[in-house]
Amino acid sequence: MKPAPFEYYRAYAPAEVVELLTGLGDEAKVLAGGQSLVPMMNFRLAHPAALVDINAIAELDYVRREGDSLRIGALTRHRTLELSRAPEVQDGFSLLPRAARWIGHYPIRSRGTVGGSIAHADPAAEWCLLARLYDADVVVLGGQGTRVVPSADWFTGFLSTVAATNDVVTEVRFNRPRAFGALTEYARRRGDFAIAAAAVAFDVVDGRCRDVSIVLGAVAGEPLRVTEAEALVEGAEPAAPTWAAAARIAAAAIRPNADTYGGERYRRHLVDTLIQRAFAEAFASDASVSAASGIR
């Protein structure tokens, strides 16, 4: 569990990252928090010839609000969002700090970055789900300058995105703030990769659900928007029967692969459970209420 030899470069500005990546070719990798890349290198599952360390680029570490858009610098640590009580986050994006608590363990949250997670594109990753949930845009700097990629176009399959080898993610813009949101997961131990995850966001206008998003994690190669279920909840009463109906549709819509953690039937069952719980948690006046309570 010692990595294969690699070259190491440190960049001090986003443009320098692109310059280095362009020069190094497609065997180079960006090192942000390193919480996925470094273990993969130690297991020799990844053999990058070079690393470009972006941790010294302080200008990529920020959280700011511009209108309906919450802009998060790529180098912002999970822990920063987890601890954030700032009004620009809480207003319409209060789910982000709550959802960040699901990410791994404390040391991972302290070191891992939002941009790194989006670039790594693990279908179980909380930021990837949230990006789809809030119709985020991914801001990328590449050889041709800056471009903005809608998250709907960003993910192209398991651990893969539309990014070119000399692209670096500089910012993630969360859009469409909503009053209600929740993300819930099931893993066999606290802090593990989710076996399945569900996130929901919606508003309630005149006693009806509006602007509904439902995203599932870890059930496909990339985070999965369940539009059929969204359509069912849109305009419906915010109540348990609605959640149950949406959950049923979502559970039927997925095509999960079987793995060590259970077959297709089990994953559907989990999705059914998690969507109902996510909606219930989102709509509970106290967002910290979870499905299980009482005896502990």
């Binding site: 131990r189 606290r190 802090g191 079987a258 793995d259 299980a292 502990r296």
Partner: protein
């Protein structure tokens, strides 16, 4: 000074461990030290067509690359504990595969380089050409061709018992493959002295004297030229410290290259290299009379031992059979076990070997019997537990070479005490309340028998030092269990001093060449009584010399508070340091022919093991939405005979419980159909963390001191684990409204399915075992 035995004094080893001053296997560093890296088989079974080391040798920094062709001869690692007179020689593991590989991870070559990074780079360049052969993964596929041992243990007339039975209840139960995963992986550092052709070996902490004997034999060296240093270790639990291929390879390479060589197993290797354990399938049948009293028990056990037989031989399957009747009155018993080989990592013992498996199966059988006979789960156990009047109770069979004689105790008393405590804690009410809220809560109980204090002997030296301190050279090893503290407490009481005045050195073969090591919950019983014996002999010697110095008869003297004094006086005394001085060569108190010094070596021998016993109770909640199990409450009641350090006993029980929880709910080594391990990181192999383990309530009793050793201790290393699978399975089946469970670990996908089954009014699961086809489709 207050008697030290019985006090929960802080651990002596903690200061060095908590301040970062511990010395672990990888901490030994020597000039010009080389690093070894093992090249392992990537396939589960095949013939080695060739190994090309050219590219690896060419890498700068590489010093040597060896394969089986470089070894002195066809070396195989012998069995440490032989039982049942079954010849296993054909199945022993070679130190490097010569013609065939039989599991993924089997060592085929070793690279030695100037640093660990280069060694790993070079290891990737070794090209191993293997012609793959037929692979057997499921133990039942191995029964016909690869059964290497098939034997029975038992007593009484089982045929008649079943003929006379009013009820016969049968259960199939399987336990998944898992093992101990010590925090510290294996690590060996060998410092070789070319000038004297001798070596010091650091890091094999468990049975150093045995390992030295094996190593000396394989290297054809005199044992005295090898010094084993059992240093601190981050846990052992049965697996760490046994003699593995690397335990030969690293010293052999150091001698071959005439330089120090270090090897540190990485975690990915550890998962495929360390002894696996537990994988068994049980078919049990029990016969009852019309009152629900057990008349007879039958067991048919299949045991998957992986690709080879390692140092533990076949003691795990033997212990499974021997301990299966447990604390119950079983008039007739026939247990059969078939040990098979498959293309998976070889197996050995893991804390509570055979008992975790057998207890889980037997207790589920009793739960099923309770439902079948229409009597309560508590009642069926109470009816059948041996009473104190029935002890000692001899079972006409033997295990580990000793006859089974359950010495003394009150099994029913402890059972009732545990349940009374559960009631007092309000757990029955909790269960009812949760159920009234529509939640799936379940309470499970099990009773079990443990074994401890396996002899036949252990040796300890006790000596007085020049400053009047007491020094112990024990044959036990310090695995993190606190044996240094326990032995210090026992030694201190022989001199009436604080344990602070005692220094304990464990597992150094130069200082203690007769030690049998620490395993099988034996150290407090065996090493403890050896230390006690040596301490008493030194105290006698102190009185002898003291009687001359104080001009009093030895019988009028006492050794207390660090002095030898005339009984009843305080001033008429000499200190231990003064007596030490008096015992030096040339002292006027020493006769010319009398050996100098204040030291004694004592060997404690014992014919029979001692049998602790206990009760586990668990309260769990099953989440029907996810199949997840939360252990809400847990209680362990345990009879330890004599608790030398109650806090350490409780720590042993609690630590054991968390490992048992892992085996019951989380941990399993999985393989795909081609024999590729699927669990080679902590992402896939699920050790319980602090979030999954509840606070454990302990009811520690000293009501029945062991009659087989002077201290009365029963051993405490394993009882925290033994009943965990049983109690949690019982609790889960109670939560689901089923009669019993039939497999461990109880994974969520299966429980969701079981809930659906239970909802259809079916109380008994169709028998399912941990088949491998569920993995990776």
């Amino acid at each position: 000074m207050i008697e030290q035995v019985g006090q929960s004094i802080p651990r002596k080893e903690d200061h060095r461990l908590l301040t970062g001053q511990g010395t672990f296997g990888a901490d030994a560093q020597f000039p010009r030290m080389l690093r070894a890296r093992v090249v392992r088989s990537p396939v589960a079974h095949g013939r080695i067509a060739g190994i090309d080391t050219t590219a690896a040798r060419a890498l700068p920094g590489v010093v040597d690359v060896v394969t089986a062709a470089d070894l002195p001869s066809d070396l195989r690692i012998p069995v440490r504990i032989k039982v049942q007179d079954i010849d296993l020689d054909d199945h022993l593991q070679p130190v490097l595969a010569r013609t065939d590989v039989r599991y993924v991870g089997e060592p085929v070559a070793v690279v030695v380089a100037e640093d660990a990074y280069v060694a790993e780079d070079a290891a990737q360049l070794v090209v191993v050409d293997i012609d793959e052969e037929n692979i057997i993964i499921d133990m039942d596929d191995a029964l016909d061709q690869h059964t290497i041992a098939d034997f029975h243990l038992g007593f009484g007339d089982v045929e008649s018992a079943f003929t006379a039975a009013k009820h016969v209840v049968a259960l199939d139960f399987s336990v998944g493959r898992h093992s101990a995963i010590p925090m510290e992986t294996r690590a060996l550092t060998v410092d070789y002295a070319a000038g004297t052709d001798s070596m010091e070996v650091y890091g094999a902490t468990k049975v150093p004297v045995f390992n030295r004997r094996v190593l000396a034999g394989m290297l054809q060296m005199d044992e005295s030229a090898i010094r084993m240093r059992a240093v601190d270790t981050g846990g052992a639990f049965g697996v760490r410290g046994e003699f593995y291929p690397e335990d030969f390879l690293v010293p052999w390479l150091a001698r071959r290259l005439r330089r120090a060589v270090a090897w540190v197993e990485d975690r990915a290797e550890h998962f495929v290299a360390i002894n696996h354990s537990r994988e068994q399938r049980h078919h049990l049948e029990v016969a009852f009379d019309d009152e629900g009293i057990i008349l007879g028990l039958r067991a048919d056990v299949r045991h998957d031992n992986g690709a080879y037989v390692r140092t533990h031989g076949i003691i795990v399957p033997e212990l499974t059979l021997a301990m299966l009747p447990g604390p119950y009155r079983v008039p007739a018993y026939d247990g059969r076990v078939r040990v098979v080989l498959t293309n998976k990592t070889p197996c050995g013992t893991y804390r509570a070997p055979g008992r975790f498996e057998g207890t889980a199966a037997r207790e589920q059988l009793l739960d099923l019997a309770a439902a079948t006979l229409g009597i309560g789960r508590v009642e069926i156990r109470r009816k059948n537990l041996l009473t104190s009047a029935e002890l000692p109770h001899a079972r006409a069979m033997s295990t580990l070479g000793t006859d089974i004689v359950l010495d003394s105790g009150d099994y029913v008393g402890l059972f009732d005490r545990a349940l009374a405590r559960v009631d007092e804690l309000g757990w029955n009410d909790l269960r009812e309340r949760g159920r009234a809220e529509g939640r799936r809560l379940g309470l499970g109980v099990c009773a079990f028998l443990e074994k401890s204090g396996l002899g036949p002997h252990e040796t300890a030296d006790v000596q007085i030092t020049n400053t009047g301190r007491i020094r112990v050279h024990s044959g036990g090893t310090s695995l993190g269990q606190g044996i240094e503290t326990v032995l210090a407490q026992i030694a201190a009481d022989q001199f009436g001093v604080s344990a602070d005045l005692v220094d304990v050195v464990n597992g150094d073969t130069l200082l203690q060449p007769y030690g049998a090591g620490s395993w099988a919950s034996r150290s407090t019983v065996l090493s403890g009584n050896a230390v006690r014996g040596a301490g008493r002999e030194v105290a006698d010697r102190l009185r002898d010399l003291g009687s001359q110095m104080l001009e009093s008869a030895p019988e009028d003297l006492e050794v207390a508070d660090g002095v030898v004094r005339v009984r009843g006086t305080t001033t008429n005394a000499v200190s231990l340091a003064q007596v030490w001085q008096a015992a030096q060569p040339g002292s006027r108190w020493l006769r010319p022919d009398e050996p100098a010094g204040l030291a004694a070596r004592h060997r404690f021998s014992v014919d029979h093991m001692t049998y602790p016993y206990g009760v586990h109770v668990g309260l769990v909640e099953v989440d029907p939405g996810t199949g997840g199990v939360t252990v809400l409450r847990y209680l362990i009641a345990y009879e330890v005979g004599r608790a030398v350090n109650p806090a350490l006993v409780e720590g042993q029980l609690r630590g054991g419980m968390s490992q048992g929880l892992g085996g019951a709910l989380l941990e399993q080594f999985r393989y795909d159909q081609s024999g590729q391990p699927q669990t080679t990181t902590f992402i896939d192999y699920l050790m319980p963390t602090a979030s999954e383990v509840p606070v454990v309530e302990v009811v520690l009793r000293e009501d029945a001191p062991a009659t087989t050793n002077p201290i009365g201790a029963r051993g405490a290393g394993e009882g925290g684990l033994t009943g965990t699978g049983a109690a949690l399975a019982s609790a889960v089946s109670d939560a689901l409204g089923l009669t019993s469970m039939d497999a461990l670990p109880m994974d969520p996908a299966f429980l969701v399915q079981a809930l659906a089954t239970a909802a259809n009014g079916v109380e008994r699961l169709a028998s399912q075992v941990n088949h491998y086809e569920v993995v990776c489709e």
